[in-house]
Structure formats: structure tokens, C-alpha cells
Symmetry: C5
Subunit: 282 residues, 5 copies
């Protein structure tokens, strides 16, 4: 980010961005698949597993290229693929690669979500601004902005593991997109920074209590998809998704200011089990 | 549930969870079916009935695995299948099993609903908290939380028949999902606990008056599907669905705070009658 | 209805229910039909007309089983079928019967509506309650409720022709579903009974003025379909539908509290003219 | 209209109705069409042009039966057909006639709109009522109503050219449906007549300034389709559609009380150019 | 624009219009394409590239006819084509030309957007009106209007490069439509001109700070498509789309008055790379 793009509005929280993310929700055409001979099936499965294998190679490197598969429950689709990549171009290449496989003939893309891993820095935004002010720097001067820039760069380096996360190994996935409310009397974007910070802090406390049993990855999608954020939750027991989100629904920032899109619930499908899944066994 | 996940917000009612639930609404392709020879039909029907039989075996065990079929009225589909299982993975396996049958070639999944049987404990939440306080325990201390945990475990054991219910034998089914309102001036999640408890109590009184003629199963779906709850009503006379819901629409919690999704009305189809149904006879 | 289901809330108006109703809106596949030979057409048409004939037989009996066909204008479909039956099971059998015909191969069910003929008794609710009170009976005592029950039974017998109506013979049909508003400041279900009664009375006066030229059948669909009521209007001149509904839009109960779904406009198609219609002649 | 249907509510403006109107928005199946041989194409085109020719014959008579074709821009369809007829039955016959052509095999009806040409008489409603009052007639007496009826009949005769209009010859069409707002605080149907009249008058002044470059036909669709009115604008330069509607969006009746549906923008396609269009040339 | 169409309402900002714009979002049928032989592919690709070549020729002329292709990320489609032309008729011809190619057999138009490049002149509207007043001219006199007309013509000539822009060469595209809010208490079209001007000015300052890294083209679509404006952003780094739009979401005109439609994110696909893309390589 170049200096000129740092917001001059003190109410805009600083954010850090990491991996580019694509969720793909596919319908699988069981009826067509059942008409495929065992020989053909083998070739198709091998091609799909090979592609996943190539994708997974990437995930051993420093900037992890991660892909994972989940078996979706309900009519919103049969499979959900999650991809983390270093750029949106790379995500588009993932789409094109998958489209070239014979496996793709049995897939219909019903839904997707495009976003980028995001850390919203409500607390450190304030600290950074206060530290710069404490040094006697005036807001919106080059010196002030350089100070903030430097702070952001340090934070980005320190938070690299959270900005370029591995996909957690948990058994269940819950994904949903969300917005902050902009209604006539209640408008998140018109709430003073300090109040938003307080509400986000309280919200974070709930998440932290569930930290051992639910791993969470937040991605921002303003300008990329139809909602403002995407939320991925990973857990061994999916009932804790309900416990966590229900409890959060009573905290002020969610009760008043959260709008939710569709919810997707999936069961982890390790790629080496794809052949079993294609034979109807989870 | 581990201790750390007990809400520290006194306004969040305790809940108990039981069977995992999947509703599947299918369109049946009559035009394709009518082109199937009687011999083929027999094989297809047998395969479907066998699968249902295997599912029903489960239902004789302690943790009942229940599946039931209803013939849907109207354009939202032709068949609705309800499955109760001990886990979401088991529900996903039900989907995969059904997809492997030849019967599935004539089914198109139009809609579904994913949830878990839930008992919302407004009244016992308060009693439990008061009992713990009466013992001199401070809220959000380990002792207080242990007390509440122990109470929840006792309740869960006592309510096992309602948490892992059998699907009632009634002739008609009414299913619909619902939310609690979060609007600008009227927001269920910002209403004090005592007021919510009072409204839920009054709401429950109406349901209780209909208790002899309408059996009700509530399932929670926050984090699992697009609405907060699913409601299944079972009755011999479907007009009582209208009587009950219309009357409830005048109680405060529904009049002001209930948002409803689509309504599905079905007629029970015992699996042994499937062959008749496939010949056009209910 | 058993005694225990009578509302104890004085604000819930009494209702009477009659025939079960199904609306089916079909797309007709003209392109496929044009490929059918004249011989085949004859067989298909005969099968369809026979089924309608069997349905119409019912309509000569005391509890009329009524079915009628309309040619729909616009893209919402080509045909609308209306069925009145003595039960929802019978309506489901109508669907299954139709699905078995060869005619059904050319139909695609695009929309439907499930409801039951309903008389909302705002005025007689009050009178009944007042009469019971005048006898010195206390509300919500068994005596009071028995009094009301007896009154409802007398009303039901007296209103049988309106509860089990014949489908009017008029040339045009207008069908639409509707809800009463439950918004934050304006909420029908929180309005005191007397005010609702006054508004419904004024609303009824408009309908009565159009009584000679528009026949109206109201059916309730709470718990059965996605809106609260369905409205069928029948007239020789469809412009009066607009006149009537436009005028009503200025009365308080509609202006403030009515929400409308889709409107369907159809031209009566006597079943004996089906062959003409299938040749493109109305 | 019979006397008994004249509104007794002084707030309901008088309206006059003329031609019945149907808009049909079709997707054209270019891929299938490109597979048709030149000989077959000729036959198909001839059949379509002949049908349009027969429709246009009607348009030379006194009560014009008008049909016009436009090439639609964007994904909402490829062709829009507008039909003006003397009855809704005649519009349904137009649909059936078109469905019998071979041309129809390449058309898919994506959208439509059903309405009737309407003149809303805010200004003359007031004048008529005042004139009747000036004669000493009491509102809602037979004499008062007869006076108003007679006035409406004179108006209808005088406005016949606007009630049964020819479709303007302009190069571009803009069509959209609209509603008047019925929200909690702002509700058009609860605004006193005089205020509505003032707002409609100011609204009309803008339209009049554009009168030379935009021809407008308003049709009412309450009870006939899902919005209250349809608006057809015709102009040589489509940018004036934007200028006109943008300017109107700042007048009170539109700014506060207008809700808009989808907008359709088309280029006039004289039927004699259909063969060119089918070869990809506008 | 003829004089008579200049708004007499001082609150309506002057606008200038330039190139007509069409966005086309296509699904590409990979499964069908994979069945095409290499020889056939070559012919199909050549035809598509030739058509794009002819379109690009236009773009070297004074009134640029511009077309560009982007590879879409996610399920909203696979390709997005943007066309700038001198008229809407020319845009419709673009659609017809594309439909005649063999390439079109593999495309399905899922979405589109119709608009015209627009410069909203809040600041110069005021200056122009003040200058005319300073000359002693009365608003809404022929002299005043002639003065404004002359000013608009000078502005239009001066701003021709922005009214008939070239499509920027950046690697990523972000497209979305938007509206200004017309709610009950917050209604953009009822806000006084000076306040709107102030908010638009502040909004513009943010855009200007991002001017080096994001190129923006605003097009108006009132009367042409379902939203009021379309926004095209072009950048080398798509994360700046999020930064820019997130920051703007906190300025008053966006926070309170902006409603957003779907967001589309694409990667530039130079037409000479189409063959590569069709082989699955970006």
C-alpha cells in the first residue's frame, strides 16, 4: 500500500490483508456419475486427485497455497472447495485448472465467495494513532503517515501466520458471509470509532472463550463479492458453531449491526478419500 | 460442552441439543418415471424400500435414527424426507446413501434444512442461575459455572426423550423455519432476559393448549442453515396448524418478533406405501 | 375443533374453515406439443378431459369437489387449475392423478397455492363474546367456551354454502396472496380488536358495493403456504378487479396493513374447450 | 362501470381505462437458430411476419389493435413485443397465436407485463366533485353519482385517442413498472387528496417539458400484475429517458413515493426488418 | 439536449453524458468446449478474435469504440465483456454480432448492465447558476437557460476525454451498480443541493487520493437498467478496491446514502490471449 492510500478519516480502522480466498460450492451430478464405468471412473478420479496433489504441494511452501474439500450437507451443493492463494490471478488459474479436468464434467458451480484474509486492527489502530500523536506528529502530515505506515509493516510481519493461515484440520466447516448494518437509525459506519472499538472488543472476548474448540478465519470482501466479510469456522463438534454464534447474537455488535447471508455446513473430505466419497462413503 | 463455552452473558438462555436433523424436499420426475417398465420399477422401488428399512432399523435403538417420508402438497416438491441422526456426519451419509440408489435418478433436491433438536431453557436458566447465586456463588467464577454445568447435565439426562425424539405418527406435517426480529426499534436480542422469558412463557401456554392435537419439535439452526430455528408440527387435522399459528400470531413474541420462511405441508407416506404412491395412489 | 383449542386471547377473531383449496400454475410446453401427431393428441386430450370429468362428478354432490381451468395471461404460466376438496389428502390425490396422465408430460408446475376457505368472524366474534358475557359467563371458563363453541357450530351450519362454495362461472379470474403487516410501528397483530373490527367493517363495505360484479372467495393459508391469505376474485370484466382493489388500497386496513404477493389473471377455459385451446384457440 | 362501483371515498381519484396491454420479453435461442437451414428459416420468418401482418391490420381500425417489436439490450431478453388490444381475452389469443408459429420454437418467454391504459384524473376528479357540489348535490347520493358518471363518460369520449393510443414510432423504448410507497411513516395512500393532487401536478409539469421528445403511455395493473403501474416511454434519443427520470426523481412524488421495478431498454425493430435481425443485422 | 429539457428545479445537478456502455457477464460451457476437436477449436477461436479485432479498430478513432475482456472470478460467470460505443443501437449490434459467432454457442449470458458514461457536475452546476445570476439573469428565463446551455456545451467539449474514455489497461476490474437511498427518514433526493454538494465533494477527495492506483469510470443507468449508476474500477492490485471502497463506506454519502448491487471481480484477458484461456491458461 502506498502512503497516499492511508485513510485521512480517523474513524477508518487500519486493516492488514493476506491470502486471497475462493470458496466454490458445487453440485455433483450423481445421476451422470452412476452411469460411468469403473475404468472411466478410475481415470477421472486420478486426474482430480493429481490436481489436488499439485495444489497441496504449494501448501508446503512459505506463502502457503492451501486447498481443502468438504462434503456439504443439504441442497446448497455436494462439495465445497476452499482455496487460499497468493493472488486473485492464482485463484482464477485454480478455477481454470479445475475446469480442464474430466471430473469437472460432473460438477456444477452453484455458489462461490471471493475474499482476502483480513485482520481488522481496531485496538492497534488507536494505539498507533496515539503513539504518533504522542511523538508530537500532526494527523495527515507526511510524518504522521510515515509513522503509521511503519507500524503497519511491523504488524504485518508479526502477524504473517494469521495473514497467510493454513486451513485448520478440524472435521467440520461453517462458512457464512456478513455485513454491518447501514439502516436509518442504526448505521455501523456512522458510529464513533471508540464505540465501535468497544463493541468489537466485547465481541472478541466471546470468540476467545471458544478459541480452543473453534478456529476462525475472517476474510474481507468489500469490492470483491456481495457481502462485506466472509467467516470460516472450523470445529470438531458442529454444535459449538451454534453455541458460539447464538451467544454472539446477544452481544451488541451482532445483535444490532450484523446481517448474515447463507450458512454452509460441511464435513472435511481429505482428498485421498475422494474415491470413497465418489462411491457414496464419507 | 466444555466449561469455557458457557456464556458469561446472563441474557443468553441455556439450551440443550439432541438429534441432528435434515429435511430434504424433492421434486419427483413423474414424466421420466412413467417411461420406466414395470420390471425396472420393481427393482428401483425395492432398492429404495430396502434403504429406508436399513434406516428404520436404527430407529429401534436407544439413540433413535429416525427417517420419515411425506407426500408434499404444491409446487415446492413432491416428497419431503425427514432424518434424525446422532451426528451431522451421519446425516451426510444418509444423503450419500440415497444418492447411490436408482430411485435417486428420479429425484431433484429442491430445498433442504439442516438443524439440531433444541430445548431452549428460559425458565430453568433463571432457576439455575438463582440457585447458584443462592449458594453464594459469584457469576462467572469456576464454581458458579460448575454448578450450572452440573444442572445442565442433569436436565439433559432427564429430557433425553425430548432431545432424541421419535417422529410422531400423525397424518400431516407442517414445517417452516423462523427467525427472531432484529430491526431498528424492535430487536429480540436486545430485549432484557426477564421480558423475553415472560413472552416465551405466554407463547408456551398456547402451544400447551394444543398439546393433545399438535406435536411439535423445535430444532436450532444458527450456524447450520439460513434461519435461526426450524419448526415441525404433526397433527391428524391440518386445519389445527392454521388455528395454532394464527392464534400465536397475536401473542407478543410472535406478533412483534417472529419472522417466517416458507411453509411446507405434507401427508404422511409410510415407506411400505411407496409403491402405491409411485403408481399415483396416496 | 376441540374445546381446548379455542383461543383464550380475546383479540383473536373466530374463524370458520371449509373446503381445502389448491391453485396450480402450469407452464405448457407448446414446442413439444406441436411435435405430437394428431392421433396422439387425441388420446392425450381424451385422458385429460376424462380426469376433469371425474373431478367434476364430485362437484354435483353436497360437499362440492370443484375443479376449474383458466388460461393464464403473461409469463407466470399458461394454465391455472383451481381445486376445492374436502381434505388436503384429497388435494394431494388430485396432484397424483394429474401426474399420471400423458397430458402432464407437457405441463411444468411453476407455482401453486395451498389454503382453506375461511370466514373471518370479526363482527360475530364480538357478538358471541358479548352474548356469553351477558349471560353472566366468565371468559375462559368451560361454560363461556361451550357457549362460544355452540355459537360457532350454528354459524358453520348456516354458512355452509360460503364455506363449501361452488367456483363462480365468471369469465375472468384474479388470484393473489396477501399478508397483514407486522412492521415496527404498524403491526396489525398488535392493534386492539375493536379497531381491527372497525377497519375490517369499512373494508367490507367496499367489497359489498362491488358484490354484483365481483365474486370473492377468501382462503386462509397460515401454516399451509407462504402468505397468510389467498384471494380469488371472479368477474365478467377484469377492469373491475383494478377498480375494486385500487379503491380498497385507500381504505385504512389495506393502505397501512396489506402486503400483496404476485397477481395472476386468467380467462375461464371450460374443460370441454381444452381441445380448442390445445389448437391455439381460446 | 356501473354506478354502484363509483367510490364513495372522496380520496380515490377517478380513472379512465382504455386498451388492454401485454408486454412480452423473449430470449431468442441464437444457438438453435444458427443450426436452421436457409430454406427452413425462410418458412419460419414468413410465418412470423404473416402473423404480425394480421395483427397490424387491426391497427388501422378505429379501436386500434397495435403490436410492435423491439430489440432488447442486455440479458433480460432479446426481443420485447408490445400488444394493445380491446380485451384481455384478445391478448390471451395473441399469446396462443404466437405459440402456434414455428418461430415460437426459438423463443423463451422470460418476463411479461399485463396492464390497461389508464388516465388518472386527479385534477378533473376535483373539478367534477366541485361542480356536482356547486349544483347543490350531496356526495354519495344517486344524483351526485349520476352527475359524476356523466362527466366521466364525456371525458372518456374526449380522451379516446389517449385511451386507445397508437404505439409511437420512436426509435427507442424504455419500459418499467412502478408502485407508490406504503411504508410506515410515508404512505401515499394515506396522504390527503389535495396534497396528492399538488404533487401529481408538479410531476406532470416535468413530463410536459419533455413532451416534444418523449412520448409516454401509462397503464394501470392493480389486480392484473405485480406492480401498480407500467410506464412506456418512447424517444429518438435514449439519453433523454435518463434526463427525464433523473429530474423526476427529485420531485416529491417520485423522491418519496415512487418504487421502481426492472427497466427494459429496446431499439425499434420494424417487422419488415425481422429477417435482417434474424441474420444478425439491426 | 434541447433547451426545454433543462431542469427548472435548482436541486437537480447538471450532468454530461458520453459513451454508451454495455457489460456482459457470460458463463462459458467448459464441458461442451472440451468435446470440441482441435481443428474446430481453431476455427471458432479465429472467428471470435476477428470480431474483437474489428471492434478494436473502432477504438483507434476519435470517438473510441472500446471493447475489453476479463476473466471473471467466482460463480457469477467466466467472462465479462465491456463495450463502449457511440450509441445504444451500436451496443445492440455488438450483441447481435457476437450472437452470430460459433464462439457464442459456448456462452450463456448470465447478467449484463446497460449505462452511459456520466459526469455529475455538482460543483460546476452551482458555479454556472451563480455566474448566470451574477449577470442579472433570472432563473427559468430563456436567457438564464441559454447561459447554462452554453456553459454545458463548453464543459462537454473540455471533458470529451473523460466522456469518451479509453478502457484503462490495468490488470484487474471491479464492477458494481449502486443507488442512492430513498428511505423514510434518509432520502438522498430530498437533501438540499448544498448538502449533497458538500458530501459529494468529501467523497471525491477520497477517490482523488487513490487516483494514481485506481482508475474509475462512472456511468448513469437511470431509465436504462435496474440501478441508478454503474461503477468500473481498474487497478493493478485488487486489494486497493477493498481499501478504497471500505474507506468510502465511512464517508457520509456512502455510509448513509449508498446501496450496492452485486460486485464482479475480473482479471484482464487481452484478446490475443483468448486461445490460451480456452486451453485453461490465464
Amino acid at each position: 500500500m502506498e502512503e497516499s492510500q492511508l485513510s485521512e478519516l480517523p474513524g477508518v480502522p487500519l486493516t492488514l490483508e493476506g491470502s486471497c480466498v475462493l470458496h466454490q460450492m458445487f453440485h455433483f451430478d450423481w445421476n451422470a456419475w452412476k452411469g460411468v464405468s469403473f475404468e472411466q471412473r478410475h481415470g477421472i478420479e486420478t486426474g482430480a486427485v493429481e490436481l489436488f496433489g499439485r495444489w497441496e504441494e504449494g501448501s508446503k511452501q512459505e506463502h502457503p497455497n492451501q486447498s481443502a474439500v468438504f462434503s456439504l450437507i443439504g441442497h446448497k451443493g455436494d462439495l465445497i472447495l476452499i482455496h487460499f492463494r497468493e493472488s486473485f490471478q492464482a485463484l482464477n488459474q485454480v478455477e481454470l485448472d479445475l475446469a480442464q479436468t474430466a471430473f469437472y464434467d460432473y460438477l456444477e458451480l452453484k455458489h462461490s465467495y471471493v475474499s482476502v484474509v483480513e485482520l481488522g486492527l481496531y485496538e492497534s489502530s488507536r494505539k498507533t494513532w496515539e503513539a504518533a500523536s504522542a511523538k508530537g506528529l500532526e494527523p495527515n502530515t507526511p510524518e504522521f503517515r510515515a509513522e503509521v505506515e511503519a507500524s503497519l509493516e511491523r504488524a504485518s510481519a508479526a502477524m504473517a501466520p494469521r495473514l497467510y493461515p493454513a486451513i485448520p484440520e478440524a472435521k467440520y466447516l461453517c462458512f457464512y458471509p456478513m455485513d454491518r448494518l447501514r439502516a436509518e437509525a442504526k448505521n455501523w459506519y456512522m458510529v464513533p470509532f471508540a464505540e465501535r472499538q468497544r463493541m468489537m472488543h466485547e465481541h472478541g472476548l466471546i470468540g476467545r472463550r471458544y478459541g480452543d474448540v473453534v478456529k476462525q478465519i475472517i476474510s474481507g470482501s468489500i469490492g470483491m463479492d456481495d457481502w462485506e466479510w466472509g467467516v470460516d469456522l472450523f470445529a470438531q463438534d458442529p454444535v459449538v458453531f451454534k453455541k458460539l454464534i447464538y451467544e454472539m447474537r446477544f452481544d451488541e455488535v451482532s445483535a444490532v449491526y450484523a446481517l448474515f447471508g447463507q450458512f454452509f455446513l460441511g464435513v472435511r473430505l481429505p482428498i485421498e478419500n475422494l474415491t470413497h466419497w465418489l462411491a457414496g462413503k464419507l
